[in-house]
């Protein structure tokens, strides 16, 4: 009997709660339940048997919390024993049932919010999955997950380490979200993309509370669904957790959930063999609902899903070096912040998805793409479109992406499809399909449709359905062909009428023409009218957003024109007011002291006609910084203002830097300073404050981030010959690793001075751990850096 053969033939039943039953048999609080696989196998088997007797078709081995973090090198043994106990119970009962390897959360939070690296999580799960398969598990159940990123790591591990079928279920709260923010639609997109065999929800809620959330999953999922509720919501009574839903009431609600489309049903916390028996008795004869293909084209982030083919979607095009010298420079200088700001601005302007292209011949594109995707998804909840022709970059980005990405792109060329489709099959994704092939770009509608058709067909051979193909009918420039727009628009119309999804890079239409936005906006409107699902545009371009907003009104997507009125009526009302409060012109120095960022940039630009960058730095910027720095130290001005001024100064420096580069001058930096928050510590706000200030004073700051091992810091100091390293630690528990870092630095890089700071530190404390200097605030770090610099240049 195999899982896939049974699936859908009849309702399949999982077992119920394990933890409480183990506690009844003497498991102590704090004792790891999985140790009983070895120490008390009979007690574990007894529970399995009770569920088998109750009618469970699939029992979960007692391996939920088994991983290398908790059991180190014993994990294989614990897992094997868990699976073997379950198999022995099946054999002893004489029933036909399947044994699932159970995989729960690691117990750690993944980076960047936590400390566990994504690939390390994959490795931990692989170890468990491989041991489970080897011990004879029939399938893998990944359950009780509350973070999509960890969920993705577990699924990839299960698929890469074994050939077993995979079920995955997550916890939703009553707010209908996972703890890390994902909606049911986002979870379905992710898991369907990863080709999980059956998906659903467990734990957290009782069957009654699960209904509205389960309905949302059922509305968008095209794969079999699983449900395992708790026996209601927990409460405590005399120190014990109790659940109130009786077996009969549980079965009653479950019958409804099965009727809503669940193919696999079981129980979680608080459910007992009696609950499972009642469930089996009640639902055994219900026919599984037929699966329906939902035909939704969806991409997702860690938090939400974006559907293509309903309301038109905006894909922001600005993260792309093509034709942008500043962007290219940012890539060469590894200036990730510049790219993040570009992303953030587009989201603020209204982008629903961000295209990410970081291709530049002289950089390592896979590494850069991976880093940019990782950083973008840590600050923005917008789904990303991975845009590259470098297959290594595409795969690495798709792998670490926390959701189902949009992929840009595939085309009708056989070798390209052979490279891209396996990645889409493995990691999931909606893929942009360009209507070109070995013979170039057809100039007829029919020609482009034929290529789209051949791409659909090839995708199907890989198990990728039409809904995950978004056709790009290709925008050609008007300046070379009077009918370019018409062909593209007709192709969009034709694909839309066949139920397909479309995307266009809009701005190419006006290449070589003056006042390009005029043409772009008009073409965009026509494309939207032709049915365009998603336009790749610049959301910061006013004309484009106006075209979009107006189309939403005219196309009936903006109910009672509410969004339009809100945006444009308010804009009109406040525009003159904003103009009237523009202050009289301040000097550059005053702008910085007041912390006016935009104005600082503006005035810097203006003053460059009167003075050289060096004069402005010496006469305006540095004196302004000194004024706020002194105010901060005297206690007349406080941290938020100090930082607002620092950020304003930075905006000024950026202007000067650009000017100097254009006139071929080198920007001069004083010396390198390496900053890090030490190993074990994840609070890096203080370190980031120091960074901003040191940069203002022309130091070349290398920020290694948080939770940084001593060796990494030492290596970087040696590599860059930095005369100064700054370390921060917030907790008493992490000062030990600060001490270790200082010791290692003094040993391996004796020329490097070490300055330390952090909430728990004092002068005495920092002396005792061997630091060269203790900075009680960010300004003191600057003073110390100036001291080190003086001796460095002498």
């Amino acid at each position: 009997m195999k899982f896939q053969e049974l699936l859908g033939k009849r309702i399949l039943f999982l077992d119920g709660g394990m933890g409480t039953l183990l506690q009844e048999r003497g498991l102590m609080p704090g004792e790891l339940p999985e140790t009983w696989n070895l120490t008390k196998p009979e007690a574990v088997k007894e529970i399995h048997k009770a569920y088998l007797e109750a009618g469970a078709d699939i029992i979960l081995a007692n391996t939920f919390g088994a991983n290398g973090l908790k059991f180190a090198d014993k994990v294989g043994e614990i897992v094997a024993a868990g699976v073997q106990n379950a198999k022995a119970a099946v054999a002893e009962c004489g029933k036909e049932a399947l044994v699932a390897l159970d995989m729960g959360p690691t117990g750690k939070l993944l980076k960047p919010m936590g400390t566990l690296d994504f690939e390390d999580a994959v490795t931990l799960y692989k170890e468990v999955a491989a041991a489970g398969e080897k011990a004879g598990a029939d399938l893998i159940v990944i359950e009780t997950m509350s973070d999509t990123y960890e969920l993705k790591a577990a699924v990839l591990a299960a698929k890469e380490a074994t050939n077993l079928p995979v079920i995955a279920t997550v916890i939703f709260g009553e707010n209908e979200k996972m703890l890390t923010g994902a909606t049911p639609e986002a979870v379905v997109a992710l898991l369907e993309g990863l080709r999980v065999d059956a998906i659903g929800m467990n734990c957290g809620l009782g069957p009654e509370q699960m209904k509205p959330i389960f309905a949302k999953m059922a509305a968008c999922a095209s794969v079999p669904l699983v449900i395992s509720p708790n026996a209601g919501l927990p409460r405590t009574e005399n120190g014990r957790t109790v659940f109130d839903v009786t077996p009969e009431a549980f079965a009653e609600d479950m019958a409804e959930l099965v009727g809503m489309g669940a193919w696999i049903a079981g129980g979680c916390c608080g459910t007992t063999p009696a609950h499972i028996k009642a469930l089996v008795d009640k639902c055994r004869d219900i026919e599984p609902q037929a699966l329906t293909e939902k035909e939704l084209t969806v991409v997702s982030s860690y938090s939400h899903a974006v559907v293509l083919g309903e309301k038109p979607v905006i894909i922001g095009e600005r993260i792309n070096p093509t034709g942008k010298s500043k962007f290219k420079q940012a890539l060469r200088e590894h200036n990730i912040q510049y790219i993040l700001e570009e992303g953030s601005r587009q989201v603020d302007a209204g982008a629903h998805i961000l295209d990410v292209n970081v291709g530049l011949p002289e950089i390592d594109e896979p590494t850069m793409m991976k880093e940019v995707v990782y950083e973008l998804q840590s600050i923005l909840d917008t789904p990303l479109q991975i845009d590259t022709t470098n297959m290594a970059a595409m795969e690495q980005a798709m792998r670490i992406y926390n959701g189902k990405p949009m992929v840009n792109s595939v085309n009708g060329k056989k070798e390209v499809m052979q490279e891209v489709f396996p990645l889409v099959k493995k990691y999931g994704g909606a893929v942009v399909a360009l209507c070109l092939d070995e013979n170039g770009i057809p100039d007829t509608v029919e020609g482009r449709l034929a290529i789209a058709e051949s791409i659909y067909k090839t995708a199907a051979e890989y198990g990728i359905s039409r809904k995950d193909i978004v056709v790009d009918a290709l925008t050609m420039t008007m300046s070379t062909d009077d009918y370019a727009a018409q062909v593209t628009l007709d192709a969009v119309k034709a694909i839309t009428s066949q139920g397909g999804r479309t995307v266009l890079g809009v701005s190419n239409i006006s290449f070589g023409l003056p006042q390009r936005e005029l043409i772009n906006a008009a073409f965009y409107t026509l494309a939207l009218q032709a049915g365009l699902s998603a336009g790749i545009i610049n959301p910061n371009a006013k004309a484009m957003m106006q075209a979009y907003d107006a189309y939403l009104v005219l196309g009936g997507y903006d109910t009672q024109c509410m969004q339009y009125v809100e945006k444009y009526a308010v804009a009109q009302a406040t525009a003159p007011a904003a103009a009237s409060i523009t202050p009289t012109r301040l000097s550059l120095k005053e702008c910085i002291i007041k912390g006016f960022k935009e104005q600082t940039a503006k005035v810097s630009k203006e003053m460059l006609s009167e003075k050289t960058p060096l004069e402005l730095i010496n006469e305006e910027l540095v004196p302004a910084l000194d004024v706020v720095g002194q105010g901060f130290e005297k206690g007349t001005l406080f941290l938020p203002q100090l930082l607002m001024s620092a950020e304003a100064a930075k905006a000024g420096f950026e202007v000067l830097k650009e000017f100097m580069q254009q006139s071929g001058q080198e920007e001069s930096k004083k010396m390198t300073v390496v900053l890090a928050t030490v190993k074990g510590d994840i609070h890096d706000i203080g370190k980031n404050i120091v960074k901003v200030l040191l940069e203002n004073y022309a130091y070349d700051v290398i920020d290694l981030g948080k939770d940084v091992p001593p060796e990494t810091i030492v290596d970087e100091v040696i590599k860059t010959k930095a005369p100064l390293a700054g370390l921060s630690a917030l907790m008493t528990t992490t000062v030990a690793s600060m001490e270790e870092t200082i010791r290692l630095l003094h040993e391996k890089a004796p020329c490097c001075k070490v300055v330390v700071g952090g909430a728990v530190l004092t002068k005495e404390y920092s002396d005792s751990i061997g630091a060269d200097y203790y900075a009680k605030d960010a300004m003191q770090t600057v003073h110390f850096a100036e001291e080190v610099y003086k001796s460095f240049i002498n």
Binding site: L109, M113, E375, S378, I379, G680, I682, I685, T734
Partner: protein, 213 residues
């Protein structure tokens, strides 16, 4: 309701009044923190055995004279864990990357919001316990005084805090999400003095964030 005065105190103003720009920024950050926060808490109530130097409850044995003194005459305790959720960490992380001045204010706002939330939770617990004629002692957290931070792991396991509210520990026993609190509250039929003590009782009188008066 987030206490503006507390936010300003956390920003290190020591009784000074921020400029209008900063006050405006505080309001913006309050809105963003409120939108990002998903406050959650979990409580479990256990019978407790309190000696001079230890407390046994919920299957844990906690060695701490100060906690034992705090729980004198208590027959029961409440184990409590609360968090603002990972959304606030994300917000903080975002501004640490994009605009540190805002990160600093978000951090202060979140600290004040956490305090407010814990106080609200405590009030609810006090109300519920009052019906049974019980008084609730001040919150006492792992890591305070002579109660080792090492108990944090078992304490969170007893509350199943990862599953219920999403709190996990780093290897260094730091809680994530960052704005999370664990505490023990004693229940007793004996009313003690002022039950809400704040940072005023701390011996570090030179602290930049000390509450005025």
């Amino acid at each position: 309701m987030i206490d503006r005065q507390e936010v300003i105190r956390y920003l290190g103003y020591k009784g000074h009044i921020p400029t209008q720009d900063v006050l405006d920024l505080i309001e913006v950050c309050i809105k963003e923190v409120e939108a990002a926060a998903e406050p959650k808490h979990v409580v479990r109530r256990f019978p407790a055995r309190v000696t001079d130097s230890s407390v046994a409850a919920g299957g844990l044995s906690l060695h701490s004279r100060q906690l034992a003194r705090n729980l004198k005459d208590c027959k029961e305790v409440i184990f409590f864990a609360a968090t603002l959720g990972i959304g606030v960490d994300r917000l903080l992380h975002k501004y640490l990357k994009l605009q540190v001045s805002k990160a600093v204010v978000v951090q202060a706002v979140a600290a004040a919001a956490m305090e407010t939330y814990c106080n609200q939770c405590q009030l609810e617990i006090e109300k519920a316990c009052a019906k049974e004629g019980l008084f609730v002692r001040p919150r006492y957290s792992p890591g305070y005084g002579d109660l080792s931070l090492k108990v944090q792991n078992e304490f969170l396991q007893v509350l199943q805090a990862q599953k219920t509210v999403g709190i996990v520990l780093t290897e260094g026993d730091i809680m994530l999400p960052e704005k999370s609190v664990t505490a023990i509250m004693g229940l007793s039929s004996v009313k003690t003095g002022c039950h809400r003590e704040g940072c005023e009782i701390c011996s570090n009188t030179g602290c930049a964030y000390r509450r005025a008066k």
